[in-house]
């Protein structure tokens, strides 16, 4: 079985997401300036750009960890306008459709790896403990960490923690996964373990939006490359095309800095 089949019990429902005219500012400081992004079901979108471009904030707007000031989010038959009152049903639908993986893993340190993956299933989806534990074990095995099931995150390496965090998000049957610089806190070798799991997930047809500095991953795995700078999307399209022949001077400058390092 593939990762997302295990996650969903069957073939993953393919869901895309449409974000239109998203804006966000803190006080008078604009961080997202009227950004729109349409993500087709089953595709991988890599979001790159210099620090401070608003990539992470934009990603966090997608599942409303940051509340945009304006714009619309359309996902799984729900239309959410973050500038207005959001009803609890829409928010729950959004959060259950969209899973997220953080740069700093954010595992629950007081729970074993197994409980990290099992506990949210019981609370959010109402699964029984044995059902949730079974699913958690399957997913931990799939990310290669069955033997760590009873360890607390503190006893796991960064790469292992991030793979547990991926399992935790997948256990809730998301149809879209957000990754916020998932390998930035890891040394390059350990990052490869995590990238391998993400590649597999992409191959299974999971819809993914990945904020990353891993250019090779962006080129090889993503279907769409989105370049953000100065709070806006400045260029998007086929990753190879953009990397070999960027249209914008700002993109060129950024790519040169990253690729010629």
């Amino acid at each position: 079985m593939t990762l997302s089949e295990i996650a969903n019990g069957k073939v993953a429902p393919r869901t895309g997401i449409r974000l239109d005219n998203i804006s966000k500012q803190y006080g008078s400081n604009i961080v997202i300036d009227d950004v729109s992004l349409h993500v087709e079901p089953g595709t991988v979108t890599a979001l790159i750009g210099p620090s401070g471009a608003g990539k992470s904030t934009f990603l966090r707007c997608i599942n409303l960890l940051e509340r945009p000031d304006a714009g619309t989010i359309q996902v799984a038959g729900h239309t959410i306008e973050p500038g207005k009152v959001i009803n609890a049903k829409d928010l729950a639908a959004l959060r259950s459709t969209v899973g997220m993986v953080f740069q700093s893993f954010n595992l629950f340190p007081h729970m074993s790896a197994l409980k990290n993956v099992s506990f949210p299933q019981q609370k959010v989806l109402g699964r029984s403990k044995s059902e949730a534990d079974d699913r958690a074990m399957q997913l931990l095995e799939r990310v290669g960490l069955k033997d760590k099931a009873n360890q607390h995150p503190g006893r796991c390496s960064g790469g292992q923690q991030q793979r547990i965090a991926i399992a935790r998000a997948l256990a809730l049957d998301p149809s879209i996964m957000l990754f916020d610089e998932p390998t930035s806190a890891l040394d390059p070798e350990v990052g490869l373990e995590v990238l391998a799991v993400m590649r597999e997930l992409a191959d299974d047809g999971m819809t993914m939006i990945v904020v990353t500095h891993e250019m090779q991953f962006a080129r090889d795995v993503s279907d769409t490359l989105v370049v953000m700078a100065d709070c806006k999307i400045i260029e998007q399209g086929d990753p190879r095309a953009i990397m070999s022949d960027p249209q914008e001077a700002r993109t060129r400058r950024f790519l040169r800095a990253v690729l010629e390092r």
């Binding site: 959060r95 899973g99 953080f102 007081h110 609370k123 503190g154 809730l172």
Partner: protein
């Protein structure tokens, strides 16, 4: 009667005062700590005002106010109730501040991950924030408890027959060198009572650290 048995006579009252006030504090501080970090500014300010007011006035003043300052109809506090209520309310305020600090010390990412997973606010508080905050604050709570044990001696000023009160009355009856003896003994007793609390807190803390972070 010798000095030691005189002091020991006050021991049950000292333990009872400390335990009652601590119990009131441990439980009562929970809603107050939540109020202190509420996003509702009215609730937050009201809780902050209460905490600062209670902590800003010495315990001895609160005890005098409760014992001698309050009369509602025919109701007046007897010394023991006044001491329990006074020490209890002060504990609520101090422990609420300790809890709040603990909750704020839990990394922000924990709440964000909970939100992203779709956990409710109640579940996040109870199963994610509280267990981690408790580990952070347990040494401070133990420190507070040993402080409270000693502060319970202030109740002697409103005629509660705890250890210091018993020492004083023994001293009054023995205005010789022997009169100093109960104070030495009571000091040793306070130390003896504090040690197990400090020890328990250290081993509890070490055990939780091991479980969580190693």
């Amino acid at each position: 009667m010798d000095a030691f048995s005189a002091v020991l006579q006050g021991l049950p009252m000292t333990l009872m005062l400390t335990a009652s006030a601590f119990a009131i504090g441990i439980v009562g501080a929970v809603p107050l700590a939540v109020g202190l970090s509420s996003s509702n500014i009215v609730v937050r300010l009201a809780c902050r005002l209460f905490v600062d007011l209670v902590r800003g006035v010495p315990i001895i003043v609160w005890l005098f106010l409760l014992k001698f300052g309050i009369q509602i109809g025919t109701f007046k506090f007897d010394p023991v109730s006044a001491a329990i209520v006074g020490l209890g309310v002060v504990s609520v305020a101090y422990l609420a501040e300790i809890y709040r600090g603990g909750l704020e010390a839990v990394p922000r990412g924990q709440g964000e991950a909970s939100g992203a997973l779709g956990l409710s606010r109640g579940t996040t508080f109870l199963h994610v924030m509280v267990p981690q905050a408790f580990r952070i604050v347990s040494p401070s709570i133990a420190t507070y408890l040993t402080g409270l044990l000693k502060d319970s001696s202030i109740a002697s000023t409103i005629i509660v027959a705890e250890m210091v009160f018993q020492s004083q009355s023994f001293a009054r009856q023995h205005p010789t060198m022997e009169g100093i003896l109960p104070y030495v003994l009571v000091g040793i007793l306070y130390i003896a009572l504090s040690l197990p609390v400090a020890y328990l807190s250290r081993s509890l803390d070490a055990r939780m650290r091991k479980a969580v972070y190693v």
